[in-house]
């Protein structure tokens, strides 16, 4: 019986991307694609390959052609901008939006939606943020349950509301003010009067009247509260609209801090001070200095590499008796601290991929069998030799990309292929029998030997396994283990634009990945997907090309990448469409 081991494959991976098509047509002959959104919204019809990313170039980090000639190029059409859209706020953003109005986290009825990232989609993917029955119910119940306290607070700030019968003028003025804060936009007269009418309707109720509470509840369940808008101004110029100042403020704030605009940003928007690139950049710089920005950065890395799950998984207690939730959580914290540290120190992508610095404390170091931190608090430690080399070798990453009891070569190779190279992978075929059980004296490498012998397995596993070999120095709980007859770490990278080659050990592998323009270009794509809440599409070609070239060539700090992405004109302009969806 043929035996192949396949990785756990998500639906998104299988369905969002092109590879299944390749698999059907080419039988998984090593063809991999770079996931992107095939939709052409917001772009002009595809032009012939021109400039930069186009043509048959194979070394551009944007794709060009893959190993067997699939054209993965994104157009560079300077007049193409993203489509107009609305985003439902993520759970984190909703929590912060409620908090900004004075609703503490323990008064919320969660969940407000999924918080899971999936391959090729961060948790903030705009088209996947659901508002299903249960989510709406939770949001509605949160709004109505907290309305009395918020209304009381509001009355405390506005004496005219405390009157038995507030005047219409008072109501209009107060609703306009509260609405600006809660809904992040200036309400027009019609909208204000609808809330006044709601107040009046409830005030006329025969019993248990609570009119201001009704207004609060309605605002906190309003689409303007639950969604953020990127529809732009009504006056299109050459088929392009610019986000309104208030939309820009929300876009910047939620992208960089996961929260609503603060007072300074709100004032800037209302004063028309978000009109120029310089004005926007000033606000971007200010927001990036906020502590909340590091939380967003942390979320990006956590979702990109999936290491947050280390705090949730369990291991075989016979093999790892000391592994538990606390250890897993410590691993996640250690990686988060490292990410924050590197980001704060303006380190570039290469440093993230090759750093010898780790954060650890005594408990974690003891579990990992690594040099002690000499303190119960986490602190920075420089490692020597190949103990830890870059983010990919963090214990949190290695323990997630593993089985219950041992390392998982396939999963680790998949992580690199998928998240570091941005390559799509086909779904596994059906009826795959399990691998042989582990046996003393048989290495994991030997266990999956059949992947390279059986043609049915080899065609796809050669994309993953030879890369996964490089991580064999880390066991199933991320602990380092020295090379030996059973732990062999040489491998090979194939089917990339410019990273192909043999490597020896983890230093060789991470070194190749850190220096690769392919992976740096992929990193730009990942950051783009995170900031824009979607896969890139053809309308993004110019922006991605420009950003990638700059990033790959000069290796600026990662913070510059984020700053550049949100400060770009591309971030604030949209392709104008009419009510029928036709381009203006």
């Amino acid at each position: 019986m043929k035996k192949c081991k396949w990785y756990s494959m998500s639906h998104t991976l299988a369905l969002n991307c092109f590879a299944p098509l390749f698999l059907l047509t080419l039988g998984c002959t090593g063809v991999v694609g770079q996931a992107s959104d095939a939709s052409d919204t917001g772009s002009k019809p595809k032009s012939s390959a021109s400039g930069g990313a186009g043509g048959a170039a194979t070394s551009t980090p944007l794709g060009g052609q893959d190993a067997v000639g699939n054209d993965l190029t994104l157009d560079c059409d300077a007049s193409a901008y993203p489509k107009t859209q609305i985003w439902k706020l993520t759970t984190r953003q909703l929590i912060n939006s409620f908090a900004a109005l004075g609703v503490p986290a323990d008064k919320l009825r969660l969940p407000f939606g999924s918080t899971s990232a999936t391959p090729f989609a961060f948790a903030n993917k705009a088209d996947s943020l659901d508002l299903s029955d249960l989510v709406f119910e939770n949001l509605f119940d949160t709004a109505t349950a907290n309305a009395p306290a918020l209304a009381a607070s509001w009355r405390g700030r506005a004496p005219c509301l405390a009157q038995a019968k507030p005047t219409t003028q008072c109501l209009q003025s107060e609703i306009r003010t509260f609405g600006r804060r809660a809904l992040r936009k200036t309400l027009d007269d019609a909208a204000v009067n609808r809330f006044v009418d709601l107040f009046a309707e409830e005030a006329a109720a025969p019993t248990a009247s609570a009119p201001l509470e009704q207004v609060v509840a309605a605002m906190l369940t309003s689409p303007d509260f639950l969604f953020r808008s990127e529809l732009g101004s009504t006056d299109a110029v050459n088929g392009v609209v610019t986000l309104t100042p208030q939309e820009t403020a929300s876009a910047l704030s939620y992208s960089l801090t996961d929260g609503p605009p603060d007072e300074l940003l709100t004032k800037a928007a209302d004063a028309g001070e978000l009109a120029t690139a310089a004005q926007v950049d000033r606000q971007v710089a200010r927001l990036m200095a906020e502590p909340t920005h590091l939380g967003v950065v942390e979320r990006f890395f956590q979702e990109w590499l999936g290491y947050g799950r280390a705090a949730e998984i369990s291991k075989d207690a016979k093999v790892f008796p000391r592994f538990g939730r606390e250890v897993g959580a410590s691993m996640v914290l250690a990686t988060n601290l490292l990410v924050r540290d590197l980001y704060r120190k303006d380190q570039g992508y290469r440093s993230f991929m090759s750093t010898r610095t780790i954060f650890t404390n005594n408990a974690l170091a003891s579990f990992l069998g690594e040099p002690m931190a000499s303190t119960d608090e986490f602190r920075e430690v420089k490692t020597n030799q190949q103990l830890r080399v870059g983010l990919l070798t963090q214990p949190s990453v290695m323990t997630v990309e593993a089985t219950l009891s041992d390392s998982d070569i396939v999963k680790r190779g998949r992580l690199v292929r998928q998240q570091i190279f941005c390559h799509d992978l086909p779904a596994p075929p059906p009826n795959i029998p399990p691998l042989k059980p582990t046996e003393p004296g048989v290495s994991n490498r030997q266990r999956i030997q059949e992947h390279s012998e059986n043609p049915a397995c080899r065609t796809c596993h050669r994309l993953m396994d030879p890369i996964g070999f490089g991580f064999e120095n880390y066991d199933g709980a991320g602990r380092f283990r020295a090379s030996s007859d059973l732990i062999q770490t040489s491998g090979k990278i194939e089917f990339t634009a410019s990273t192909d080659g043999d490597f020896s050990g983890i230093e060789g592998l991470t070194g190749a990945l850190a220096e690769s323009p392919d992976t740096a270009g992929c990193f730009v794509r990942q950051a783009f997907r995170f900031v824009y809440g979607r896969l890139e599409n053809r309308s993004d070609g110019c922006e991605l090309l420009k950003t990638s070239r700059s990033f790959v060539d000069s290796q600026p700090p990662v913070s510059s990448l984020f700053r550049g992405l949100v400060a770009a004109e591309h971030f604030r302009k949209r392709t104008a469409v009419d009510n029928e969806g036709k381009r203006l």
């Binding site: 969002n16 489509k83 109505t144 109720a205 689409p223 939730r325």
Partner: protein, 462 residues
């Protein structure tokens, strides 16, 4: 109306605790749930396992479509023996929703091929349609519960409220309990005021959402349409429940004390410890029974596992390493398969036994009002096939003649990557769903994709 005696904290702790046998549950319920004066409603239990019910272990295993009344049930079915006379075993159905390995498993109950992407079902799943048709709100009071084996991504679910509306099962038994019994209703006046105020806000927000929707480009409108659909669904629930969404009425059934469930993980610090899976599944199963018994719910959707999960059962195989006990990939190993299936059969029996223990006071038990079925989303040789889907139906209402084995055949060429219409002798799971819906009093001649939908399975409904 059902009147219940107080369910004490201690009893519930025992009730939820590990290792409580089905026989204890039966005794427990008989002792603690008092007689009713004649509750009459139909209930539905839909239990899902990605892999399970090895139809070919039953003898004789025949290749041609046939109805077999005197077949030999496989030993793993022993826990369900008390229900033999009300049981129909069905196999050979084709799950058209799954056109690749796991890619569309989430769409299994929609009878429709899922749209690309795990969060994008094309239409509502059958239990949702039935729940709404009999006045059960979704996801509450219809209950969607499950238990993650180890890692269960939030997006994994077989249930959908409609297009792009995934319903995720509640995986925490304590949270489930809180939902059911955590909020007693208040006075009638307060309920009326609450209902009025909520409806007023909902009307306002609905108009607001509609205005917003109308201003959006077509590509963005579905987002507001989903909000409007959810809002309307919430309105319906409010109306159905008289104003309180989480209602537990002490007049109808005494609230159990919060059990403060402790699930006894094998390692105290582990989350979703694989060894606690039986306890968590049993706790959810018991909550279904309690919710039904107290009249809080009539529809139970129980997601035991899905194909994309690597569900480990080390507690069944103490001599194996946990990684070797994954329910996937054991085609041909009949001994292991039988153990997996027996575990699932015990779980299914736990619910049915629990419902049988609830006397309704009219000579009937709750099981007499219940149609329970257990289906696998995958078929084939126990795994990784979208053909030869089996189901075990226990029809307490006796609308289906029990003691039978209905074997159908999947269409020729069935397999992943194929979407075949029903042929003369082949039937899709759609037809099973149609049968169940009709038995639940929800008339239906077609469900999901029309070409996969021929009507009730021949011979199933008596």
């Amino acid at each position: 109306m059902i009147n219940r005696e107080m369910i004490t904290r201690r009893r519930l702790l025992k009730y939820f605790g590990a290792g409580i046998s089905a026989s204890f549950l039966s005794t427990f319920l008989q002792e603690t749930l008092a007689r009713s004066e004649g509750l009459s409603r139909k209930c539905l239990v839909q239990m899902t396992t990605a892999n399970g019910i090895a139809a070919y272990l039953h003898k004789p295993f025949i290749d041609k479509a046939a109805t077999v009344t005197n077949f030999e049930r496989a030993p793993f079915m022993q826990p369900l023996a008390p229900f033999n006379d009300r049981m129909v075993l069905v196999s050979g159905l084709y799950n058209y929703a799954i056109i690749d390995l796991h890619g569309n498993e989430m769409a299994s109950y929609t009878g429709n091929v899922g749209a690309p992407g795990p969060q994008d079902p094309s239409s509502a799943s059958i239990e949702t349609v039935i729940a709404k048709s009999i006045g059960q709100g979704v996801p509450y009071p219809a209950l969607y519960l499950g238990a993650p084996a180890r890692e269960w991504n939030e997006y994994e679910s077989c249930y959908a409220g409609g297009k792009n509306q995934v319903i995720r099962p509640e995986v925490d038994p304590v949270a489930s309990f809180g939902r059911l019994f955590g909020k007693p209703v208040v006075s009638v006046e307060t309920v009326a005021d609450t209902l009025r105020r909520k409806n007023s806000v909902l009307r306002f927000v609905k108009a607001d959402a509609q205005r917003t929707r109308d201003k959006l480009p077509p590509s963005e409108r579905p987002k507001l349409e989903q909000m409007l659909e959810s809002l309307r669904s919430y309105e319906q629930r409010l109306v159905a429940q008289g104003g309180s969404n989480d209602k537990f009425d002490p007049a109808r059934c005494t609230a159990p004390t919060n059990p403060a469930l402790t699930l006894k993980p094998r390692t105290p610090t582990a989350n979703y410890d694989i060894y606690s899976l039986p306890d968590r599944l049993n706790a959810q199963a018991d909550l279904f029974v309690l919710a039904f018994a107290c009249g809080l719910s009539s529809v139970a959707a129980f997601l035991v596992n899905m194909g994309q999960q690597h569900t480990l059962y080390p507690f069944l195989f103490p001599d194996l390493k946990p990684d070797e006990t994954d329910i996937h990939h054991h085609s041909g190993n009949a001994a292991m398969i039988a153990k997996f299936d027996q575990f699932h059969a015990q779980l299914f029996a736990r619910i049915c036994n629990g419902l049988t223990a609830v006397a309704l006071g009219n000579g009937k038990t709750l099981m007499d009002d219940t149609i329970a079925y257990w289906m696998s989303t995958n078929g084939g040789s126990h795994h990784d096939g979208n053909h030869n889907i089996p189901a075990i139906i226990i029809d307490g209402t006796r609308q289906m003649k029990g003691g039978r084995y209905l074997r159908f055949i999947s269409p020729e060429g069935a397999g992943f990557g194929t979407q075949l219409g029903n042929t003369e002798k082949s039937y899709a799971t759609n037809d099973l769903f149609i049968s169940i819906a009709n038995a639940m009093g929800v008339p239906m001649t077609s469900f999901g994709l029309a070409k996969q939908s021929r009507g009730p399975l021949p011979g199933l409904l008596s």
